[in-house]
């Protein structure tokens, strides 16, 4: 059973952020290659997004997202309340133009830049007891 309070917090975050990324580390300092790839794709899209570092509560968050989305690995990108997927799916969608469509932006011409572009809106850190 996932922690009920944490699950509610996560659901609130998903509802409050049109684009929300659960990742390992932060957009300024990703701590995993997959998370970094999603950050690069989002930065190339030049959209505002919330980012949650899952590392402080990795296992509890796995349990929560397993219940919410039947998905336990990170990164996870939620757009308008729906899980799009992890790094592989986000990259495929980036290449096909589906990501731009889901985000409501124009497809960028170039491949994602290596360094982070516009800073994303940082969601307040999760308070984990």
């Amino acid at each position: 059973m996932a922690d009920a309070e944490l699950k509610q917090k996560v659901e609130e975050l998903i509802a409050a952020n049109p684009v929300l990324l659960f990742m390992k580390g932060t957009p300024e300092m990703p701590r995993c290659g997959f998370s970094m790839r999603v950050v690069q794709a989002l930065d190339a899209m030049d959209v505002e997004y919330g980012a949650i570092d899952v590392l402080p509560a990795l296992q509890p968050l796995r349990e929560v997202t397993a219940e919410i989305s039947d998905w336990q690995t990170f990164p996870q990108l939620y757009v308008n309340g729906e899980l799009l997927g992890g790094a592989d799916i986000v990259e495929e969608m980036f290449d096909s133009g589906e990501l731009a469509e889901a985000l409501g932006v124009e497809q960028p011409e170039a491949a994602p830049p290596p360094a982070a572009a516009a800073g994303p809106a940082q969601a307040p850190p999760l308070q984990i007891e």
């Binding site: 995993c32 290659g33 997959f34 039947d70 998905w71 336990q72 690995t73 899980l83 799009l84 997927g85 992890g86 790094a87 592989d88 799916i89 495929e92 969608m93």
Partner: protein, 69 residues
């Protein structure tokens, strides 16, 4: 494990680091027909969940396709 869960699927698994824990799986299966990408990935990940749970797999990259696409 993927082949057991998805009989008839064409599965290719590559060890990305040589350590056996960072894998890339390319799976082509008729069972994916009509499923969204994320549902296709869920099927593959469910098939190898035991290896994630016991820590044998640390990271899995998944690429899915439907035969003939």
């Amino acid at each position: 494990m993927i082949e057991a869960a998805l009989p008839g699927a064409a599965v290719e698994v590559v060890d990305e680091t040589g350590g056996g824990d960072h894998l890339r799986a390319t799976v082509t299966a008729a069972q994916f027909e009509g499923l969204s990408r994320i549902d296709q990935h869920r099927l593959v990940k469910a098939a190898v969940k035991a290896r994630f749970d016991d820590g044998a797999i640390h990271a899995l990259s998944v690429k899915t396709a439907v035969p003939g696409s």
